[in-house]
């Protein structure tokens, strides 16, 4: 049986967990001291050996990303933390930064030292005001304590850290769009290559890492690569947050080794809400093809989820029970992609716009068989045909829902309307009607 491994969340039940004092009281910043006595290249090797893979969705090996910075480029190097958590279903970095911002800051100091960068940015989405406050307060504490600034902890290493608030654009979670945004432009993805390691922020060598990836580094430095690889699977090492939301008895953050299954997680979370059954779920956010109850025993690691036809993504497990209309759910996701498409690539900009129209009429019961084929045709023209993964992500829920629930699309137009009572899906749908309804 897999058990939970609270590491980044270990101190979250301390009222002062977000303060420097509270973090230090639980061993915080000891890994930084150790790191500063280590050769930077040895730290890169350590993270490679640990097999840490990016926790922002793509799963690229973090140490390899660090190792790609060209040694002979004389320009300054930058570390950029992607704190633009916006993928529907993903809700791990925000509580982490609220409760334990210093583990991120310690990771930043170690990572910057390892890649020989003297300037780091935390690009945090603007729509989380208190997270911005907490981060800025923690950064100020770190400067005051000599953790940031000149001569970090007396090591001779200098590091400046800036908290930068975005302004509302999902696309800025894509690393090259984020860099354009941080440079003060519209957040539109760049064609790769060149990759950020070669030409990133200000066309300088840049590492862009997710919050959880960077926050995982202090533990690896403190405890070693083998401690990390003792958790997870061979190719998906370590631990991560599994964020359960939706029709589950106890939604929330469950920090566990990669490779845990939804069956195990559901057991820990008290199962689905009483009297209901799992219908479909996302393993890693709305951009990952949906799963059904057939996949309860799929190990949630990069390889197994991929083999089962989806992606581990951000381990954002949105669970929907039998009261949920899949056409409505998918239609709402596509409305999101249409809203958030940056407009640069025609397949994404136009494809999502038209899929919203088609899904809306299907949901209203005004569609036809041809509409289902039309959706698949549009997806065929979306997938793999845009600069970034937003277009690919939009195809995921459409194609996978038609694969598993084609009959439900058919039912809508055969019955001339949505066969579901949406109020039954609500948080209060099973209670006496005292809270909802009209006035």
């Amino acid at each position: 049986m897999t058990t939970l491994t609270p590491i980044l969340s270990e101190n979250w039940d301390r009222a002062d967990s977000y303060t420097l004092e509270g973090y230090r009281a639980t061993g915080g910043y000891q890994a930084l001291r150790k790191a500063l006595d280590t050769e930077p290249d040895a730290l890169v090797d350590l993270v490679k050996q640990a097999g840490l893979r990016g926790r922002g969705g793509a799963g690229f090996p973090t140490g390899m990303k660090w190792g790609f910075l060209p040694a002979d480029n004389p320009k300054p190097r930058y570390l950029v933390v992607n704190a633009d958590e916006s993928e529907p279903g993903t809700c791990k970095d925000v509580p982490l930064m609220l409760a334990n911002p210093h583990v991120l800051l310690e990771g930043i100091a170690i990572a910057a030292y390892a890649i020989r960068s003297h300037q780091a940015f935390i690009y945090v989405r603007g729509e989380v005001l208190h997270v911005v406050r907490r981060l800025r307060q923690a950064v100020a504490e770190a400067y005051e304590a000599g953790i940031f600034g000149n001569d970090v902890l007396g090591s001779g290493f200098d590091l400046e850290v800036v908290v930068h608030a975005g302004a509302g654009a999902y696309i800025c979670g894509e690393e090259t769009a984020l860099l354009d945004s941080l440079e003060g432009y519209r957040g539109q993805p760049r064609l790769k290559p060149p990759f950020p390691a070669v030409a990133g922020l200000y066309a300088s060598p840049t590492v862009v890492n997710n919050v959880e990836s960077i926050a995982s580094v202090p533990g690896i430095v403190a405890n070693g690569a083998e401690w990390f690889t003792a958790m997870g699977t061979e190719k998906s090492a370590g631990f991560g947050f599994f964020s359960l939301s939706g029709h589950v008895a106890n939604p929330g953050q469950y920090e566990a080794p990669l490779g845990i299954t939804l069956r195990e997680l559901l057991d820990m979370a008290g199962g689905m809400r009483p009297g209901h059954e799992l219908k479909f779920w996302t393993p890693g956010g709305s951009s990952t093809p949906i799963f059904t109850d057939e996949h309860l025993d799929t190990p949630l690691d990069f390889e197994s989820v991929g083999q089962a036809g989806s992606m581990l993504g951000t381990r954002a497990l949105q669970l929907f029970d039998e009261t949920t209309c899949v056409v409505r759910a998918v239609g709402r996701w596509i409305a999101f992609y249409a809203h958030e498409s940056c407009g640069k690539c025609t397949p994404c900009r136009e494809g999502n716009f038209w899929m919203v129209q088609v899904l809306d009429r299907l949901e209203r019961g005004e569609g036809t068989e041809a509409d289902i084929d039309k959706l698949l045709d549009i997806c065929d023209n979306l997938l793999g045909r845009s600069f970034c993964a937003l277009g690919d992500g939009a195809a995921s829920p459409v194609m996978s829902s038609i694969k598993y629930f084609r009959q439900e699309y058919v039912d809508h137009y055969e019955k001339g309307g949505c066969p579901f009572d949406h109020t039954r899906s609500t948080l209060w749908g099973d209670r006496a009607t005292t809270t909802g309804g009209n006035q």
Binding site: E39, A165, G224
Partner: protein, 262 residues
């Protein structure tokens, strides 16, 4: 498509000199944070929004002047990002999440209830200038669904009744406390100033974590589940059930990296 427009024939709208004089020191401070000035554009737009409550043509001209950009360059950026209001709005921006998960969990019912209660359409503002209502996309609090944001502070696990009470309290000028955030909601302008990078000293207010954020930790505490011990304190590791290849589960041999760390 922009709602920002220069008044035809009258040249570019400008802030009065006293406003420029007041905002310029803040603008310089923002610009000084970055290796290249243009990176300051997003926070500068938050700054002018903090002053006016929205990003006006004059506000964009101010940003353009500070960064030596054209008004068109600033306009292109300001209209790309949804957090910049293009016209006046209320003191409190009430955003109901209607992305799939929150919508299914009741966000749609909350949103339609508030539209009816406030007699507003999306983006509309109450006549008293207090509340602007909109639906928003996923705000990274899915385990607290359905979620309502007020000036980008979290109001978790809402329902139509609590949401109606919330907007009523905002309109009555009562102190309203987010579920996870400061002790009371600040105004839209104050929030914009924090986003521009000027602290309001409230980072220490509110809980560190609540409810679902602690679900896994609480269970682990109850059942005595822990992460594997550090090799430096205990040579025995906890075998993971999910490790098909776990040949090194006694990591007493210091790795090269750890050796280098000494």
């Amino acid at each position: 498509m922009s709602e920002h427009q220069n008044t035809p024939g009258t040249g570019t709208a400008r802030f009065p000199d006293d406003v420029v004089a007041r905002l310029e020191p803040d603008a310089k401070e923002i610009i000084a944070r970055y290796p290249r000035a243009r990176s300051a554009l997003l926070p500068l737009l938050h700054l002018v929004q903090a002053d006016e409550g929205h990003v006006s043509a004059a506000g964009m001209a101010f940003c353009a002047d500070q960064l030596d950009l054209t008004l068109a360059e600033v306009n292109a950026v300001a209209t790309f990002y949804t957090m910049y209001r293009r016209g006046p709005g209320g003191d409190y921006q009430v955003g109901v999440c209607t992305n799939t998960l929150c919508a299914v969990m009741g966000g749609d019912e909350i949103y339609s209830s508030l539209k009816e209660h406030l007699e507003l359409e999306n983006g509309g503002t109450t006549e008293d200038g207090k509340v602007t209502l909109e639906h928003v996309e996923c705000n990274a609090a899915c385990d607290f669904a359905p979620v309502v944001m007020v000036n980008w502070e979290f109001f978790d696990n809402q329902n139509p009744e609590t949401a109606r009470n919330l907007v009523d309290d905002l309109r009555l000028g009562k102190d309203v406390a987010p579920t996870r955030g400061a002790e009371s909601v600040c105004t839209w302008k104050q929030a914009s100033r924090v986003l521009a990078g000027f602290d309001d000293g409230r980072g220490g207010e509110g809980v560190q974590a609540a409810g679902p954020s602690l679900a896994g930790l609480k269970l682990a505490r109850e059942r005595g589940w822990r992460s594997p011990p550090s090799p430096s304190t205990n040579p025995q590791t906890t075998p993971s059930a999910q490790s098909p290849s776990d040949p090194n589960d006694l990591p007493t041999r210091p790795s090269e990296e750890e050796g280098g760390a000494q």
